[in-house]
């Protein structure tokens, strides 16, 4: 073997050991989810004595009235799905007319969306809750502790980055295609939904992933809009409540964490190429 080959093998070993090192925390969660509390405290680093415990613990968490995991899983999925639909469609529509209309007003609105990206959530969070409360009292719309309110909130907070990304992409689409459709008698609505939207697919995936991972993991916004311990809880909220109340039941805590990890890890493994590309692209622009 040449020197170069030896070096490559050594680098391979180094990289592999680093990945294993990075995965230790996640492996610990898995191993300890299959143990009882005593076994965790006496031997937190060994493999479990009986993997069958894992199933028992999972059932425990699934039905536990203090975490209501199945309900939280449903809520997280429901909220993420409908928020994504709302954000992507509304932002793509807005970005399209903002690119295609060359007026001062259109320029100004676009700048407003972009400028809002620098505002930290802390600046708007308390007035937001207050304002949602006022809207709820005066119009009767369910803004707080409801799916509707939180989806509207995600739509508004997600719009800035999404419009920015769609805007950049639409600028590069030649106008001819849309004009051809228009001459063929397509209305503006038809042109957008049948001609423009399909072209947006690559950037659409990026926008979905960026917003999806943020919404799925978000904690502070649901805590303020939905509230702690109310009927509508997302997974991060449910785990937070549960951990606060069961600090020393490590077996249940580890299983709850494992079950919170599983959906996102499965999703990551299934779509890792798109996820890594989307998350990196979205931030660099």
């Amino acid at each position: 073997m040449t020197n170069k080959k030896v070096a490559l093998v050594l680098l391979e070993i180094l990289a592999l050991s680093l990945v294993v090192f990075f995965m230790i925390p996640l492996a610990l969660v898995l191993f300890n989810s299959a143990k009882g509390n005593v076994e965790i405290i006496t031997s937190p680093l060994s493999l479990p004595e009986n993997w069958g415990n894992l199933w028992v613990n999972i059932q425990n968490i699934w039905n536990n009235p203090n975490i209501r995991y199945s309900q939280a899983l449903f809520n997280s999925t429901f909220i993420t799905f409908f928020s994504l639909m709302a954000i992507t469609i509304s932002s793509a529509m807005a970005a399209w007319v903002l690119v295609r209309t060359k007026t001062k007003m259109s320029m100004f609105i676009f700048m407003l969306f972009v400028a809002a990206m620098v505002i930290p959530f802390q600046v708007v969070m308390f007035p937001l809750v207050r304002w949602f409360g006022i809207v709820q009292r005066t119009t009767g719309l369910p803004m707080l502790r409801s799916y509707f309110g939180i989806i509207i909130a995600y739509m508004g907070f997600g719009s800035s980055l999404s419009i920015f990304l769609f805007h950049g992409f639409i600028k590069s689409i030649p106008l001819d295609i849309e004009e051809a459709a228009y001459i063929d008698g397509c209305s503006k609505f038809k042109t957008f939904f049948l001609v423009v939207l399909p072209i947006l697919k690559p950037i659409y995936v990026t926008v979905l992933i960026l917003n999806g991972i943020w919404i799925w993991n978000d904690f502070l916004l649901p805590m303020l809009i939905l509230g702690k311990g109310t009927p509508v809880q997302t997974i991060p909220l449910a785990v937070n409540n549960f951990a606060g109340a069961f600090v020393t039941s490590y077996d249940l805590l580890m299983t709850a964490i494992l079950m919170a990890l599983v959906p996102i890890i499965i999703f990551f493994i299934a779509a890792q190429k798109h996820i890594i590309k989307g998350m990196v692209e979205g931030s660099v622009k």
Partner: protein, 302 residues
């Protein structure tokens, strides 16, 4: 013609309304209300009359030593994080852009912690710091680590936060460096090789200057994200162990975002929390402008 124009205007607003409406609902209106509330005596509890108090909340915020303390430790945390995250991720990026076979697998592995939410991560690491490390250290005879819990002292708890953030963030920043490293033209490196430049010289004079634009981005991202840290702070350390600051007992690991939240949620002084949030916002903008300016000046054009 006139009708056509009106139609176009109508379509413009129709397409814009869903996004603009929700954006106004959750960003513009609360921002304006918040600006106003920061000059009033607004508290979170229902109150019939809100009165104007001028700059009182701002001067109270500046006099509040917990706010000062949070600003100091958030700055320390941010600087430590910027340094550690960028060193680790740059090293990892160099490693996974070599010719090793499993490089895509390793990239995904390092990236994985980034898709897990901060709340969940914090609880995992709390278990590691409170159970796993003490247990392992006592087995291996490292009595110092076995007897002293990292999360029980504010300085080591802050270090713990930096460790967890690095673990969470390094793979993500690594991918930005990977993209930059792949853009370094091969022929430039080969030409230098022919001219007899050593690997270190090639690294210093070609690779580093070529990836400098990436540094602008990665430093900006780590700066902003560290400064706004809240989730891991909540689940890993909480407000933290008590520590002495300016002659007063104070919560040791309350970063700025948490200090702002607790000013309203715990102390019920929402107007002051609002003033703090606006100060936080201004400081963040100033810091990031300074950083981007500084980094841009060091970039090279090619």
């Amino acid at each position: 013609m006139d009708k056509d124009k009106r139609m176009q205007k109508l379509v413009f607003w129709l397409f814009l309304i869903p996004a603009l409406g929700s954006f106004a609902m959750v960003q513009i209106i609360p921002f304006v209300i918040g600006l106003y509330y920061s000059f009033t005596d607004w508290s979170a509890t229902a109150q019939p009359v809100i009165s104007f108090v001028g700059l009182k909340n701002y001067s109270d915020a500046f006099k509040d030593i917990t706010f000062l303390y949070s600003t100091i430790i958030t700055t320390i945390y941010t600087v430590a994080n910027i340094i550690l995250v960028n060193i680790v991720s740059f090293a990892l990026a160099l490693l996974v852009t070599t010719q090793i076979k499993g490089r895509n697998f390793y990239r995904a592995g390092f990236f994985l912690p980034n898709v897990i939410g901060g709340i969940i991560l914090g609880y995992i690491w709390q278990f590691i710091f409170n159970q796993f490390i003490p247990r392992v250290s006592s087995l291996w005879g490292i009595t110092y680590l076995a007897d002293n819990l990292m999360l029980a002292d504010s300085r080591t708890a802050l270090l713990a936060l930096v460790i967890v953030s690095t673990w969470q963030y390094a793979g993500y920043i690594m991918m930005i460096y990977v993209a930059a490293l792949q853009n370094v033209p091969r022929d430039l490196i080969e030409a230098a090789q022919i001219d007899g430049a050593s690997p270190w010289q090639r690294f210093k004079t070609i690779t580093i200057p070529m990836v400098r634009p990436a540094f602008t981005i990665t430093l900006f991202l780590t700066l902003v994200n560290s400064f706004k840290q809240f989730d891991v702070n909540t689940s890993l350390t909480g407000v933290g162990p008590s520590t002495m600051f300016m002659g007063r007992a104070i919560n040791g690991t309350t970063l700025l975002a948490m200090n702002i939240s607790n000013t309203s949620l715990v102390l019920r002084n929402t107007a002051m929390a609002q003033a703090k949030a606006i100060i936080f916002f201004v400081v963040l903008v100033v810091f990031s402008l300074l950083q981007v300016n500084f980094s841009k000046r060091k970039e090279v054009e090619l």
